[in-house]
Symmetry: C2
Subunit: 412 residues, 2 copies
């Protein structure tokens, strides 16, 4: 195999070096957006970028673009990246991997003296995690026009400090208008944050898209009554009706494989007393699928089931959609670039979808986009024990390198 | 119809008079055990008993026996009664009805100059409700030897005051040893506290017995995971498995009609977050039936279902019994006396069971016992809107009168 390869040891070392900033006793990282630690992390990555000869542009929401010039700098850059803020009990890889893999791509190109047609840029987006400030995916969201800079600036943490104030304090308010930066194509390498690749013993996940979701609140109204004196036929047991619906949520997801998901995560029973028949049950419904048609069909099925259950039981049941994100299919060219990158190296690979949101979802609104997943141990992320293997980290970065080269040179 | 009848208006008036002590703005009664109000209520009932020529005996736990002599005072008395303490948001009828119906029986016998073979007694038991001091059904429980006088004396309210201290304070510590008082037979008239009679439009419930119960805590152990990235086949969703069991609890009750009851009243989901697959679900199971054989069969069924569900899903499920009360069938002679009392007057009647505990359950350990139920509005009790109709109150008391006469004269 004579393919161009990145330096896996160097990438791993960079991941470990960045993970020292905000390192936790349990081996994780706590580096919340726009804290002093975030500033230290940003400064370190920017210093590495400068060492690699990249030029830096920061926009008004603190997104940082690190640019390696191409042969034809009139072309829109091929961009990769992710984020370097973490959850309070975050790990070393979520986000950081996508940024440092991009930096490793650049370092490799520098080592070999390779020039690309289009410029290449590595970006880190502000506050992807949303732990300290909501909305989540804030930097990429403002960039894509999902919400305004003013909305983002006004967001407060629990201590009442604003995004604007904290950005100013750490010195990351740039001059560029968010969204004015050209994006030719966008790639993001990321740990899977799920169990699929590990379960299938596959190295590279070719991400076809990000699942759309519909969130609902459902309330079943029964009548509370003493559990002893009330015979079964005279009951209006809200929980018994609610559990039928909870079962159906999962059954619906199974009817839309392989990417259908149905989850009831939250349940509140009133009055929640051992010997009282529940009079009211409120619970959440989370439905996801990879395309709008299937997600809409799942929506119809749960609504029809609730209607017919209400009629059959005589109990009032309300369902209210509280959140909606459309499915985000990635551009086929980018998906193919990832797949052929994996094939070049003989890595085992499979088509996957992302169940969680990523900055790439917002980028897909603006430009062809794609993602590369690598396995993470036990499918666990947002946890200090989040882990992945050096050879997988290396493999994902090799795929990123070739996908970006493919795209950057195709442009020429 | 030339049957001997009680004075319904007088009984109703007594109920309303007693309900003034501790009356609440919403039309209910708050007269907690061993408070000043309880003393006032006790004093009023005792004064009525003395006016009716009854002799008073109080035992060491404050149970008060009010005796009308018979022709043969060597015979054990035929006793009726209930309690006059209430829930904090209690009504006018729960307990009070059974005591004042007994007093009305005595007044009627006095009016007509009727002598019975065996003596007749009316009793009110201390602290049936258990709102202020636990255990519930304290006076009858000590009397029946279910727990000791010392245990009852040591019980404290939330302010740290003991049963013994409060009994002394209100002057209701008698000299008789609890349980030393002879009981020839025991009847208790009571509002149903359930919806069965009202639903069937029936006046008299012939109570066959009190349901036994088994209470359990059940815990399903799954694995929490993000709702998005985790495909359906790789989930260990504790709630989905728990809801199968919750459905089965109700299904089992339906398989043991007409007195089987199955209730899940309490549910706790961990971590109870909208987009996290539940990792652990704890819930209560309440199974009841009228005889031990059927209750034991229900117990076997739920345990077998949990075993097979655990095997089928691979999830650990624990079930632990946390409470058991044996079913309490009433003596057939007493049940028949109630049924024939209803028949005499042409009242509509039906066999019922009590789903809730009553002092009669403890009396059934010591002597033949029976209960008479009358409907209560919407099946509601332990609530200030608790209500029943004067003609139903009168009917139940007429049945009580004849059941007691039957028993008291049969003895002769």
């Amino acid at each position: 195999m004579n393919e161009l390869t990145i330096n896996g040891a160097r990438l791993w070392q960079s991941l470990m070096d960045l993970a020292r900033i905000g390192a936790t006793a349990k081996g994780g990282v706590c580096r919340l957006a726009l804290t002093d630690l975030d500033k230290q992390g940003r400064d370190l990555v920017v210093s590495w970028a400068k060492e690699a000869g990249l030029s830096i542009t920061t926009d008004k929401i603190g997104n940082v673009f690190m640019r390696r010039a191409g042969k034809n700098n009139a072309l829109a850059p091929v961009v990769c990246g992710s984020h370097i803020d973490t959850q309070p009990t975050g790990g070393k890889f979520d986000g950081n991997y996508g940024v440092l893999a991009g930096l490793e791509v650049v370092r490799t190109l520098n080592d070999k003296g390779i020039e690309t047609e289009a410029p290449i840029e590595v970006v880190f987006w502000t506050n992807e995690e949303g732990s300290r400030f909501v909305p989540v995916m804030m930097g990429s969201g403002v960039f894509a026009g999902a919400f305004s800079l003013e909305t983002a600036y006004a967001a407060k943490d629990t201590a009442g400090r604003t995004v604007q104030g904290e950005l100013e304090r750490i010195g990351y308010v740039g001059s560029e208008e968010p969204g004015k930066h050209p994006i030719g194509a966008y790639f993001e390498a990321h740990i899977e944050q799920g169990p699929v690749l590990e379960d299938a013993d596959v190295t590279i996940g070719v991400v076809k898209g990000v699942l759309g979701l519909r969130w609902y609140d459902c309330v079943v109204h029964g009548m509370e009554a003493h559990a002893g004196p009330t015979p079964m036929p005279l009951r209006k047991d809200a929980l018994q009706v609610a559990t039928k619906i909870m079962q159906e949520v999962v059954a619906i997801a199974h009817r839309y494989p392989p990417y259908g998901r149905g989850t009831v995560g939250f349940v509140e029973v009133f009055p929640n007393s051992r010997n009282v028949i529940p009079g009211r049950v409120k619970f959440s419904i989370d439905l996801r699928n990879v395309d709008s048609e299937r997600l809409d069909a799942m929506d119809r099925e749960i609504r029809e089931f609730i209607d017919s259950t209400s009629k059959a039981t005589g109990l009032e049941i309300t369902i209210q959609q509280v959140s909606y994100f459309a499915p985000c299919p990635f551009e086929q060219g980018c998906v193919d670039a990832v797949a052929s990158g994996a094939k070049k190296f003989g890595y085992s690979s499979m088509d996957v979808v992302s169940g969680a949101g990523h900055d790439a979802v917002y980028m897909a609104r603006l430009a062809p986009a794609g993602m590369i997943f690598i396995p993470c141990k036990d499918g666990i992320s947002h946890n200090e024990i989040e882990d992945t293997r050096p050879e997988q980290v290396e493999a994902g970065c090799n795929v990123l390198l070739h996908a970006m080269l493919d795209r950057a040179n195709r442009a020429g």
